[in-house]
Symmetry: C2
Subunit: 326 residues, 2 copies
């Protein structure tokens, strides 16, 4: 048995479960494992680094004959990154954060599906206008980057689904178990995009300390903030996008003083020095509010199978009727 | 047909749909209408005003022979308010925001169910320890008051459900249509608590302008803030609790300057003057992020019936399996 949605039909995948293209962490091995298990694995192409892309897309293309895809940051990439990725024949290319417009035609003409992630209704309307094949509605409880002034997944997804219909919508943000997948479908989504949960799998392209931090992390310690991007000297447009991470010394030091931090080159030097001497981790641990639900480090294949089975159970339980049927 | 959950079994109600006890707005007529239609109507007892309680509890008690209840603000009430309410024989009393401890035994000994609303896991654990019969997990997308640093409903509900089991948990915040009710059940909740949506019904105890504002309001214009409580001179503990409202001139004027506002008696006088001369509405319009889904002003009975039918449809659609069943 398997749940059937517009997404599983459109892509010919078994489960309505999509690996979020987490930059760096969603490498070729993880994406391939998700796709082999019946989900849709998306490689996290991020800023479009050519060397990284060539390596990871080779791994995913050789690792599965099922559909897979790749995601990019619209504000960060150039057309060349998309071109390079399309040579590997992904089934889908996802564009997040920024204007997807410049890349849509090229992706479509290569025969790949265009997936566009949105964080508000204006972006959703724009994605529809551009002819997106799949729209990903991301809530503010998601781990990693998202809108500074974001929307919560539960009320956001049905509004985007209404706006986009008949274009299928995926729910992203706050989903880490089968109940969340089931809720996504109940809200009218055609599937669930899952990030943080996949960081705590055997195949995730992260330092083992990250998987452990995700398992041990608590949602109440996560925070959406621009501080760490500013401290890292990342080029993210922090006025619009922030990232949800686990707690971090630089959050405590700079919370509420982003403008000051942005003007302080010494703070960025301090951050680099603290990384170099091991006082702080090499990168923030990006984690969403669903981190509370993550308590183990399975293989990605086992995780996909478990999520799908739990989702079916959750929907069957939720749909129970009163004995007698009245 | 009707969906069956731990809540419908426990209370003997037809639908797993609960009217949020919105202070002032959820009066006796609205609560009675919800209960007559098969949901659980909760009167918004708020601060425990004796005259208001006597009037509205008389209306609900005379208006339905089905189970109904009443909600209070734990930080604001004294035991006398609960005593007064219990004389009307509610099936349930809900306690929100603050320590429910002082009131639990009295409610239980009167034979009413104890419902405790929680906004974080610490509060949820405390509610379990106190022996709450029903726990309401409130997400930050909810309208009106909630935690300043709240959790989003979708990832919060399953964690509370795991912590509280076998105590039934309701999902609150961001639910305004049957898809949201279905999602709540999929997440493991025994029902959905709904507020903002019921403000836009014929029976809501609000000025007609409020219902219209909710119908016209957009989620992107809602904001969780302590400014309006401070400007109104409300006694809410704003360091811990804020309220989500539609846009308001005083939000634009004071956003980000709550400490300054708290020290400025002239600002409170200005607010009163602006209300008196009709420059601003008599009260903020409390509204959650699900306001986008609210487009009409039905009767409460029609709304309950519609929500229940939509929820069944949403779960049936979400639970579709691939033809052939493989």
């Amino acid at each position: 048995m398997a749940l059937s949605t517009e997404l599983t039909e459109l892509l010919g995948v078994r489960h309505p479960i999509v690996l979020a293209p987490m930059g760096g962490a969603a490498g070729g091995a993880l994406a391939a494992a998700v796709s082999r298990a019946g989900g849709l694995g998306l490689v996290g192409g991020g800023y479009g680094d050519r060397e990284w892309l060539a390596r990871e897309l080779t791994i995913v293309a050789e690792g599965t004959d099922r559909p897979w895809g790749v995601g990019f940051l619209s504000w960060a990439i150039d057309a060349g990154a998309v071109e390079r990725a399309l040579e590997f024949r992904p089934a889908a290319v996802m564009l997040s954060f920024g204007d997807p417009g410049p890349f849509v035609e090229r992706i479509r003409s290569a025969g790949a599906l265009v997936m566009v992630q949105v964080t508000d209704l204006e972006e959703a309307a724009r994605a529809v206008d551009l002819g997106a094949d799949v729209i990903v509605a991301q809530g503010t409880e998601s781990g990693g980057h998202g809108a500074r002034h974001g929307r919560s997944t539960l009320p956001f997804v049905p509004v985007v689904a209404d706006l986009a219909a008949p274009v299928p919508v995926l729910a992203a943000g706050g989903i880490a178990d089968g109940r969340g997948v089931a809720a996504a479908l109940a809200l009218g989504a055609a599937g669930a995009m899952i990030g943080t949960r996949f960081q705590a799998t055997a195949e995730a392209l992260v330092d083992p300390s990250v998987g452990r931090a995700v398992v041990e992390g608590r949602a109440q310690d996560t925070e959406r903030n621009g501080v760490l991007d500013l401290a890292r000297g990342a080029s993210w447009p922090t006025e619009k996008y922030t990232a949800r991470t686990l707690g971090h010394p630089y959050l405590d030091r700079w919370r509420g003083r982003e403008a000051e931090l942005a003007r302080d080159p010494q703070a960025r030097q301090d951050y680099r020095d603290d990384v170099a001497r091991g006082a702080i981790p090499p990168a923030p641990v990006w984690a969403g509010e669903a981190v509370d639900l993550i308590t183990d480090l399975p293989s990605a294949a086992d995780l996909v199978t478990t999520l799908a089975a739990q989702a079916e159970q959750a929907l069957a339980r939720a749909g129970r009727h009163r004995p007698g049927g009245s």
